[in-house]
């Protein structure tokens, strides 16, 4: 136990050192660093969505709206209140907290509305947020906000990603995580074994919203502008795709999903629209062969890898034996 903690700390420090090195010595092209930052930010985004859509098993489309609230609030905070770079964490926190508040509002309908009906409500929520932002001149109306101070850099992204992974991991392994999964399996049974469903859903939605909000804040401070159109249908679809591609109910899955999709979308710009065609086909193929996503309800672990190898070896051995029998 202690040994592992030390190992994790060393790993963290090495990562941090690597980020500093990359930033200061120009080891990697700036465009590549940008992609790495995108991947990191979307990992946080997908982790957040996965809490509700994966672990809690609710088909929610509220993430675009929640991301918008987080992004806008943090940006406004950086522009008007926390104006120096070292106050960036405060802006992030403000954005995250604002998202938690709207996340709680979204949790309320989930108490008695289910399934696709809830999907429509959450969709409506996202589109309402977008529309309100378009109409509020205070936040720039359809033009959005600019210039937002460019505070996001590789180190901040790295820190936030590590924090998000650690927190989400702790969260899903705690009683809250167990409650979420119990509700996903059978809501009535979980109520009857003393799970407070309303409370569990509220907590899940707010923690989810916190991370989605943080990711929104990071992206705004990376691009140094934001506008309502970034939070429309395509943001909703993007989030869904990454969650269900990588794997529902899995932290590894969230990371893989964000990684694959962002690399596809960001680094294959040269092939233009064809990346979306390829992306669409990849989605179909993955769903056919892994309906729960690449890492659906599983985590990458050393024991898991060993098991997988053992299974492959078994199958090979059996195949060989089968062939011998056949001859």
């Amino acid at each position: 136990m202690k040994k592992r903690k030390g190992f994790h700390l060393i790993l963290f420090a090495v990562g941090l050192a690597l980020c500093c090195a990359v930033m200061n010595f120009g080891l990697i092209q700036t465009s590549k660093i940008l992609i790495i930052q995108y991947v990191g930010i979307y990992i946080i985004f997908v982790l957040g969505i996965n809490l509700v859509n994966g672990y809690l098993g609710i088909f929610s489309l509220a993430h675009a709206g929640i991301m918008a609230v987080g992004g806008y609030t943090a940006s406004l905070a950086s522009m008007h209140i926390f104006t120096s770079p070292w106050m960036f964490p405060l802006s992030l926190l403000t954005g995250g907290m604002a998202s938690v508040l709207v996340g709680l509002c979204v949790a309320v309908p989930s108490f008695n509305v289910r399934g696709d009906y809830l999907a429509i409500i959450t969709l409506g929520f996202s589109l309402i947020v977008k529309s309100i932002l378009q109409n509020l001149e205070v936040v720039g109306g359809p033009r959005g906000l600019r210039p937002i101070p460019k505070y996001t850099n590789l180190i901040w992204v790295y820190l936030c990603v590590v924090l998000a992974i650690v927190m989400v991991n702790r969260f899903v392994k705690s009683k809250y995580g167990r409650n979420m999964m119990a509700i996903r399996e059978d809501q009535i049974a979980s109520e009857l074994v003393s799970v407070d469903v309303r409370n569990a859903k509220s907590v899940a939605f707010s923690v989810s919203a916190f991370f989605i909000g943080i990711s929104g804040a990071l992206i705004c401070h990376l691009l140094s502008y934001t506008n309502p159109n970034s939070y429309g249908y395509s943001a909703i679809i993007d989030g869904l795709v990454m969650v269900y591609l990588g794997g529902v109910g899995s932290i590894t899955g969230s990371i893989i999903g964000a990684l694959i999709w962002q690399i596809l979308v960001q680094s294959l710009r040269t092939i233009g629209t064809w990346r979306w065609i390829i992306g669409g086909c990849i989605l179909v193929v993955i769903m056919i062969f892994q309906p729960n996503g690449i890492f659906g309800n599983r985590e990458l672990s050393i024991a898991g890898i060993k098991r997988a190898f053992a299974a492959i070896r078994n199958r090979l051995a059996k195949g060989a034996a089968g062939k011998k029998d056949g001859q």
Binding site: M167, R170, F171, S174, N179, A182, L192, V193, N297
Partner: protein, 257 residues
């Protein structure tokens, strides 16, 4: 005689025109095993559903340990000490047996979200406590070796026992068993008989059970409540019920004169 653990006072549960329970009154004394029998559609499971809070009764008063629990939400009632199993098994199938039990402990866990995020000693202590508690229950029911298995992968009989284990993890005073013997053969039923009595004695529980199998009901129940069309036909010790005219009629039809 001490105050009853649970009591129904003129309770009715109507769904539109259907009177699933109609003015039912009875009480359950502490430490007893009470069976509820009746023909199909007599309202047996509905008694459980209103008692555990799935439905709010249309009229009447339900008391648990003297307190009114009519309008409470299910998890509150469970938290106060009423736990149940389900007629058609409802385990969290994709989770391990141990996690099924741990999910049921949640009313007794005090740590909060900050404890989780900071991974405090308090959280680890409580988690260890409930884990030992759950493992104790599992070993008592002879399921300790199944703790890590996904609940959906267990055999039917084991799933039935995990349902009881999960209900016990809620630390109840009153345990509701909804057709625990469904689908069992006579030998398994005898084992179940013995298990139910053992559970009652070990955890000092009061047990209310709905059952079709007379072998089980007559064998272990201290008292039997017979209902039909949502109304009480009779309540008494097994011998009384066995010879009750009305009950016989409901089960076997009218006597030919």
């Amino acid at each position: 005689m001490s105050a009853p653990v649970a009591s129904f006072d003129n309770v009715s549960m109507h769904f539109g025109g259907l009177k699933a329970i109609d003015g039912l009154s009875f009480s359950v004394a502490k430490g007893k095993i009470v069976g509820i029998i009746g023909p199909n559609g007599a309202g047996k499971t509905t008694v459980f559903n209103v008692l555990s809070g799935v439905y709010t009764p249309t009229a009447g008063e339900i008391r648990f340990n003297g307190q009114l629990i009519n309008a409470l939400r299910p998890h509150v009632i469970t938290g106060r000490g009423v736990a149940r199993t389900f007629q058609n098994i409802r385990l969290f199938e994709r989770q391990s047996v141990l996690d099924n039990l741990r999910a049921a402990c949640c009313a007794h866990i005090k740590y909060g979200i900050l404890d989780v995020m900071l991974s405090t000693g308090r959280m680890h202590r409580e988690e260890r406590e409930i884990e030992t508690g759950c493992m104790d229950i599992l070993s008592f029911l002879g399921l300790a070796d199944k703790a890590g298995v996904k609940a959906g992968a267990l055999s039917y009989g084991d799933q039935r026992r995990v349902e009881i284990a999960r209900a016990l993890a809620c630390k109840p005073e009153l345990l509701l068993l909804d057709e625990p013997a469904a689908g069992m053969n006579p030998a398994e039923m005898d084992l179940l008989n013995e298990l139910i009595v053992r559970v009652r004695d070990h955890y000092t529980l009061t047990i209310l059970l709905v059952e079709h199998q007379m072998r089980l009901v007559m064998g272990i129940c201290d008292e039997i409540l017979a209902i039909n069309f949502g109304r009480k036909m009779a309540m008494g010790v097994p011998a009384e019920i066995r010879s009750n005219e009305q009950v016989l009629e409901a089960y076997l039809g009218k006597k030919v004169r």
